[in-house]
Amino acid sequence: MENLIALLIAAPLLGAAVLLCGGRRLDAVGHWIGTALASASFVMGVVLFADMLGKSPDDRTISQHLFSWIPVAGFQADASFQLDQLSMTFVLLISGVGSLIHLYSVGYMEHDERRRRFFGYLNLFLAAMLLLVLADNYLLLYVGWEGVGLASYLLIGFWQHKPSAATAAKKAFLVNRVGDMGLSIAIMLMFTTFGTFAFGPVLGTHEEAGLTQGASEGKLTAIALMLLLAACGKSAQVPLQSWLGDAMEGPTPVSALIHAATMVTAGVYLIVRSGAIFNAAPDAQLVVTVVGAVTLLFGAIVGCAKDDIKKALAGSTMSQIGYMVLAAGLGPIGYVWAIMHLVTHGFFKAGLFLGAGSVMHGMNDEVDMRKFGGLRKYMPITFVTFGLGYLAIIGFPGLSGFFSKDKIIEAAFAKGGTEGWILGGAALLGAAITAYYMTRVMLMTFFGEKRWQPDADGHEPHPHESPRSMTIPMIVLAFGSVFAGGLFSIGDRFLHWLEPVTGHSEGDSPVSALTVTLATMVLLVVGAGIAYAQYGRRPVPVVAPRGSLATRAARRDLYQDDFNHVVLVRGGEHLTRSLVYVDHTLVDGVVNGTAASVGGLSGRLRRLQNGYARSYAVSMFGGAAVLIAATLLMRAV
């Protein structure tokens, strides 16, 4: 059974190799090869899952050692895998949603001449993401970590002839590299502290506490903060969130799979996986919760102001991951809920993006919601599935998001003290804003009057429902959006499933669960109500009004990009330009000058450049030879 783990990764990797090296002759079947191999991965995941369910909860971890990867004295990195309940959850999510999105892309990318390459990249992504969650040590995880970054880079920039896409891809990779630096340093810190960076020895197992027990809190805090930096990059958390909005330049299936359901949640995986380290570093945990709370508000606020449907959803993704990070920062009380929200979010956010893609597909790739309106009549399936995703994300009672988000808000209050009130308050406020911006998206897209216009070439859009290959994945995901949360929560199934890996503790909340739920409901109604008042009762202007100061700030991502541009981009340009000058004049000049004056060669140097080079070189070489000979002779005499 263990051997299946490597095959799980190998299948999409093979797909990527075949599709990217296969050449044009595979153009006709490439997308089916890619989809088949992604599904093969999912099937293997299901087989492993069935096998795992047959075992007792404390005995479900299996591992596979492939080969010794980097063996150097005192340093051992292996290519080996570990499959436990946590990675199993991810495997099913990644390969399941991944397969659906492969299927969706068959229709969505039908008219793209580079469709084969697109599927190659998607397969590459799946392989890297599976490696990320199956690695049994941090260095191998790092390979998956940057592997998904590469896939994301390639896919954001898939339409690289568009300068905006190429720039967005580069930006995503660069910002992520800053995070990767954190992961590098964390691994180095682990190595100097523990002599290893494998999960087992460092984090411990049921039977045996890990080496973290013996380390000082200061060291663990440093490691934890570096891991957090990595998580911020990958999961688009403040202050490394700026790339996610731009990443929407990628084809929509990519936004659904990579920038909503799976890759961007890798930071949450990293924190939950490293629970043993964070548990022993309360200061770092506090920072994690603050990052989560700030991001969940930041993303929500940005999401309110965007007219681009994908960018509005991207803000929402940022915000929802903020919830997960917040939960993960709370420690054992929150780990399970972070992952549960991650899974339910995987369903409804992927569904929402696929819905957005379906809308764009029918609207000549228009993304401006001000030019939608009234689409429910034209695309009923998209409308219903998108609507269910909408209800799930705002936390409508009984739907997936309701269960997972509610638990996180409760857990935040349970942190206790002022912190608990602040974090819980932020999470509640976030819920209200979520209801607002999602209602806004819903109303602007599917309700009201139709507002579309002919595009620049005079083509009037003819909104239509998408082909079956696209609607089926949307329907499946809608089922997940509706039922997953309930299924997980009946009898605390999800809790019992993950608890052996992540541990769990019940907090002591100052407010009862019922109060939290009621408060959430009230805020949900308020948020949705305001949106309705603004976008449902009044016609939506086709051209965005100037808006208040706050709206304009939110449209510009709260000026973070402008700050980056002025400080980092401009500053960096000045720095490199002046360094080029310094190198050319100062360093070169000083070294040349020193050499020249030492040898009294300045005059000759000038002549050199006039073409006496060869004779000079020869004479110098001759001089050296004479010197050698003379020295040897002197010794001989």
Binding site: W69, A79, H161, L174, T576, D583, Q609
Partner: protein
Amino acid sequence: MSFPLLTATAALPALGAVATAAVPAAQRVAAKWLALLVSLGTLALAAVTLVRFDPDGARYQLTESHPWIADFGVRYELGVDGIGVALIALTALLIPFIILAGWHDADPQETGSSRWRPTQGFFALILAVEAMVIISFEATDVFLFYIFFEAMLIPMYFLIGGFGDRAHGAYRSATSTAEGDAAAATQRSYAAVKFLLYNLVGGLIMLAAVIGLYVVAGNFSLQEIVQARANGSLHMATSTERWLFLGFFFAFAVKAPLWPLHTWLPNAMGEATAPVAVLITAVVDKVGTFAMLRFCLQLFPEASKWATPAILVLALISIVYGALLAVGQRDIKRLVAYASISHFGFIIMGIFAMTSQGQSGATLYMVNHGISTAALMLVAGFLISRRGSRLIADYGGVQKVAPVLAGTFLIGGLATLSLPGLAPFVSEFLVLVGTFTRYPVVGIIATFGIVLAALYTLVLYQRTMTGPVKAEVAEMPDLRVRELLVVAPLIALLIFLGVYPKPVTDIVNPAVKQTMSDVHKTDPKPEVEAAK
């Protein structure tokens, strides 16, 4: 007496060089094929050396020793350790690709004038460099090493000065082709002379140190001196050791090159043809870092430790400074040159971190940097030869017209930025972790290099390959079969060594262990374990 394998590995390209040079003027193509065959033969010999070498055996293997200048104790003494054998393999591996990539670089521009045989000369010079580099990796006699360390400057000088890449994009001000050619020739000869001067000055200072070493030790044998120092029969005053160390180190730091002695490299790599640029940075410069490991650390262990802080600072400056300068370049080849300066900073940092991970990583880095730079630079050369310009701004949208070229360029770039899964990641991480265990602050600052590497690589890719197709590149053909033959194996190697570097680390590790014991250093213990 057994077959002198090491001599043969160096002698074959040397003889090949003579033979290639002697090919009649009319038979240019035959000269190319001859050079290619010789380089493949050398590769075969290097492969035999690699197989015959036993990583767990004696420190120096396949040794040969003959008196040469008996009066001065100069011996013809060869032997390889794991580090030497790995670098010989790298050299022998890269030369056929360099020859193949430069297949048309030395074709005469106008038919007729044939007193001067550029094609024969070009390939003969490459083989001559190969021979001298290989023997430098083999020599265990300090004087023998010095001779070839210096002698390789001559063919390199002619390769840089004599063969430009016919890309005069940098000289736009020129109003005519002839004027552009003249400007290029001036630049080229300036670059060649600068290369020669820097390295000659380094070499002369080293010569003084070599002579000084002889005065102190009475012979030139690396093994004898190391042994004598270890068992106490050869005493060296602290100041003497330091001066001698500095003399050696200076020459190697010029060659490597280390900041602030680096400025010859961008000129040389910019003006030379792409294959020659690869020869410089991937092959010849490795002799400098190799010699630091072999000669500086072994002969002068105490002085090496004494100088470590200063060298680490210089290496750190190289890493960050090289990367920042690469970001600011407008010329593709100069960009790669500055990236190399940054990478050499990593190698030197790994050597002087004095940990097993650092030194194994540094050795691996030499091999991986050789392969990755070759991949990136040779593809860049193919690109430049199509458009006739080295300026980044002259390109745009190439991926649309030449997707395979763009794809291979991207993979070369990803290797340069040390993407995990490709070979350079393994070595860069080892260097970083090996440095971090002893010097955490240095390790952390060096980590900034990985962000900057992503910046210069991706900006280069974006500006040349993406965006709307520029009119000048619209007709650009994709990679040809010969070019694919060069690039595909290099990429395959990058992936293989990224996934499975064990074959190389197995060879290198024992040699590093020896070096570590030469300098009396042990790796820092993990804190948790130490606390128990």
